[in-house]
Symmetry: C2
Subunit: 216 residues, 2 copies
């Protein structure tokens, strides 16, 4: 497991995975017009303990006011900055199948600063992408990457092609990969980060829980 640091403190994977949930909860509070919050309220929203909330915020650098709680807008801004959501990211998507095109069309990511600039596939005829997006043949991948700044590559290919695509992306200097292919991707290159979305793993966990549910 890799180690990430903020202000000299090591941040564990367990904490990192909760940060987006804090972010979303705070966004919801802001949307509802709530300006002040405390660790108990946040804990209830995430279904964790208030102690864990304070411990987590302590780990990433305290943000509260003792005896008062947390200013929603301040805390939201701080957590956004920790996650890097105050920046903009240029993305490309490899694979113009249903999932690739669904991702390219989804506006939620763009709203958070993740902008899809191009979609690549072996077949481009009869497929459509949104405004400001290019639909390119996969053969143009290296050419595109040599001329266009790209922060994140999204892999939405068939299982079989995935490893070859990963190699090409890493060789082209891509440093962040978001993988939707049903493989647990990893790379020895320590400068590359990969996040896998394993839909079938989640489905199998659901099946297990259905079958082994107690006190139902």
């Amino acid at each position: 497991m890799d180690i990430y640091v903020n202000h000299d403190k090591v941040i564990s994977d367990a904490v990192i995975k909760r940060l987006p949930r804090y972010y979303r909860a705070l966004k919801d509070l802001e949307m509802e017009g709530v300006s002040k919050v405390n660790s108990t309220v946040i804990a209830d929203m995430l279904r964790i303990t208030a102690s864990q909330v304070r411990q987590d915020f302590y780990t990433v650098g305290g943000h509260g006011i003792q005896g008062y709680g947390y200013e929603v807008s301040t805390l939201l801004g701080d957590i956004a900055a920790i996650l890097g959501l105050d920046k903009r990211y240029d993305m490309i998507i490899i694979g113009a199948g249903r999932i690739g095109l669904a991702l390219s069309a989804y506006k939620g990511f763009r709203h958070e600063g993740f902008v899809c600039k191009a979609v690549f596939d072996v077949v481009t005829e009869g497929k459509h992408v949104g405004d400001g997006q290019q639909l390119l043949h996969i053969d143009c991948l290296e050419e595109y990457l040599s001329h266009n700044h790209t922060d994140i590559a999204v892999i939405a290919t068939q299982k079989e092609e995935t490893h070859a695509i990963l190699d090409r992306l890493v060789a082209s200097g891509i440093k962040a990969i978001w993988n939707f292919a049903p493989i647990d991707l990893a790379t020895d290159d320590k400068s590359v980060v990969i996040e896998n979305i394993n839909m079938s793993e989640s489905l199998f966990v659901l099946a297990f829980k259905m079958n082994n549910k107690l006190n139902g």
Copy 2:
């Protein structure tokens, strides 16, 4: 956190989440024609320790032969049975947007026994689903569920509609929900299991790791 039991032993969430990965690794081995395996090989495939592999198998009920290792086909069958992948599951999908339709068309789930029987939306014109699938108006949801056995409901709706849909599904007796809407769904009904796929959480974790990567 709920507790699941197999042969009198409590199985932790940490173990449950690894079971689908064992399953996939063993499927790959079987596909390659490998008939025998040991804990070290499996550990290397999942990038965990051999000790953890043996401890996990011990928790779900031993499957190996001392001094020999594991028979791939036996172990695969046992883990499939533990996950419940030896059964068939009838699914419906709520939401015929890009993600809902992508899921309805994806053959990978069907191959594992998860069969999508119907897709529901407020708009059904101009949309198409596969053979053996119905495309129905969301108003027909309760009517459909009262006449058709359904194991799993997949939620692929807009954020705003999601809670209302959850309530209707639970009221209709659905016991398993696979949620793709960008909300962390939960229910007080202990007989209902929910698995959330949070794509943006995964993307935010990727952003964090990009920004905080050390020893790059």
